[in-house]
Subunit: 126 residues, 2 copies
DNA sequence: CAATGTGTATTAATTGGTTAATACACTAAG
DNA sequence: CTTAGTGTATTAACCAATTAATACACATTG
């Protein structure tokens, strides 16, 4: 569990983002158990209700589901998972294009910067 | 003046972002006058102190400067302008790479999505 | 059947951003 | 020289979103 919160965004959104990332990356498999609300709250030193808020919204979005008195689980519905990936990617692309639009730079140079950054991140991970 | 605020981020940050974009794009030239605090506040229907907060931070970052009892002006310092563009670009690239990293997709496909999005945005502008 | 661990619900408190009210110093214009 | 328009500074109040405190319902287990 490797989360660092920024102070700007609401914690419950950052928690959601954290799990969404694990799901789109496949690090968290469909059907696998989520940490219990209280357990996660303890680990992250945050309030259980904040976790509940995050989980509750993820449940609204069908990313997780809950059976009575059991820890929530990651959805096994392929359409939900595909939709998540699709939206994740589109959001990233839209944001990026909107950001570089005002800058006068050839696309090739941009691609080069992306490749560069990908490589340095790969290295940093090792 | 074409600003639409979201409710999530602080207004003063959105005002800063708005002007930064105008500066990196060259729509706002070095040395040109900024709207006066009170005038901008009136236009945007926000409090003059909120504008002051935005301007004050931009001044800290040397993006604008102010002479006594004159409206602030956009910096004419090339190093500040270059630095702004550089940081703007790097931030965009870093954010983007971090976002797509967890998704299993070839770089070529990503580039294609970017091109696509750029074209649709170009069309939408017309 | 008591204890513990789930999820859930309700209400209260906190907090940061924003707004607001004033005031001051200075300059240019009428 | 008065007026209006700059930027700047200080203090208090407001408000909505977020976080926190607490309690409830249920199920499993020893």
């Amino acid at each position: 569990m490797n989360v660092s919160f920024n102070k700007r965004d609401p914690i419950y959104l950052q928690v959601m983002q954290y799990f969404k990332r694990l799901i789109v990356s496949g690090e968290l498999n469909p059907g696998s158990e989520m940490p219990s609300r209280r357990q996660l709250a303890n680990q992250l030193k945050i309030n259980p209700n904040t976790v509940q808020r995050a989980y509750s919204e993820m449940e609204d979005q069908r990313l997780i589901y809950t059976e009575t008195n059991r820890p929530s689980r990651v959805t096994e519905d392929p359409s939900v998972l595909n939709q998540l990936k699709k939206e994740w990617l589109h959001h990233a692309v839209s944001t990026f294009v909107a950001a570089i639009e005002p800058i006068d730079i050839p696309l090739n140079d941009v691609v080069h910067l992306i490749e560069e950054k990908m490589h340095t991140r790969k290295k940093d991970k090792q």
